[in-house]
Symmetry: C2
Subunit: 195 residues, 2 copies
Amino acid sequence: MDGKAYIAQRPKRADGRRNYDAILAAARKAFESTGADASLEDIASQAGVAIGTLYRHFPTRASLVEAATRDGLENLVAHAERLSGAADPLDALTAWMREAVAHFSTFRGLVGILAQSMYDEGTPSHTMCNAMHRSGADLLRAAQAAGSVRPDLTPDELFDLLSGAAWVREQAAGDRDGSPRFLQLVLEGITIPRA
Amino acid sequence: MDGKAYIAQRPKRADGRRNYDAILAAARKAFESTGADASLEDIASQAGVAIGTLYRHFPTRASLVEAATRDGLENLVAHAERLSGAADPLDALTAWMREAVAHFSTFRGLVGILAQSMYDEGTPSHTMCNAMHRSGADLLRAAQAAGSVRPDLTPDELFDLLSGAAWVREQAAGDRDGSPRFLQLVLEGITIPRA
DNA sequence: ACCTGAACACCGTTCAAGT
DNA sequence: ACCTGAACACCGTTCAAGT
């Protein structure tokens, strides 16, 4: 709520940096196989460090999740900037939306954390969520200005749709992944047919 | 996976039935305030019984969730049957969809349990999910036969859309509930304008 | 600055003893 | 048939002692 969330930083000392990296690698693996509520003790032992070391670098689970997803979400924002000003703003928006859904559902439980972080300043991922919100809003505005997307759709609504699609994807066990179709239905619902 | 999930039954002996009911009441209250992962010990103590008694009646958390939501979801199915054969099949479908979203998001975590139960037979809520699937499919088919809904939409996809809307609603903290708008966008996306 | 691991707390789950 | 609560297991979190 007060924008004071702790953001993990890569240490300067060599041993600290080695452990930091090992914990992040173990965390990504554990999150992907077990979900965002994977055991922190397992992660520490997989990384070959004591549990206190994990807590020293990542005082909360949220700070670990933030650090584990930071690069991927930064890429998503960077890609949006590359797409902005594209020849076809609708193509740009839909391509970005597909990518966003994939990133949001990197592991089970992530999209819920991101959805909470979007409107809670006291959360480590809030800053990144704000950046994504801006990126998405820019692409949306361009597509609306081109007359390709219904003009009454707000950025908040866009993110609800993206999050819903990502959540459906995260629920899907292996085969039955309804999210491409989900997103397709959403897209056909919000786009304006070329006359 | 094997359809052998334990379904809680209301005991015949008076003291057992009293405790069973008290546990269910406490569970509903706890689920609504804390979510589906509310502490079972808290629920037991709120109900005025020992933890062993809770486990006797509800051997798994899933069986308690199933029992706590059984009546509400039965009503949803019953309502679908009343709506079937309505004068306007599209109105019937949309009314039912709104009701379904409300029921699916009775408390935080429920829609995830239901989404899992839909395709996992080894789960207490699977039977009820099947019934809801049938109900929704009937209303969908009627609306499609009337030419009101795009004919390529499958019941599975309908439930993905409903679940997505319910999940958005469950994430929303108090005020910002995007689910009515979410559902509205979905509905406008899947319906066929009357010519 | 950073690491370790024992210590504490909390909660889920089981089960022997009881009515 | 049903209830109780102690006992065990597991895991998150902290912190004093160490390098």
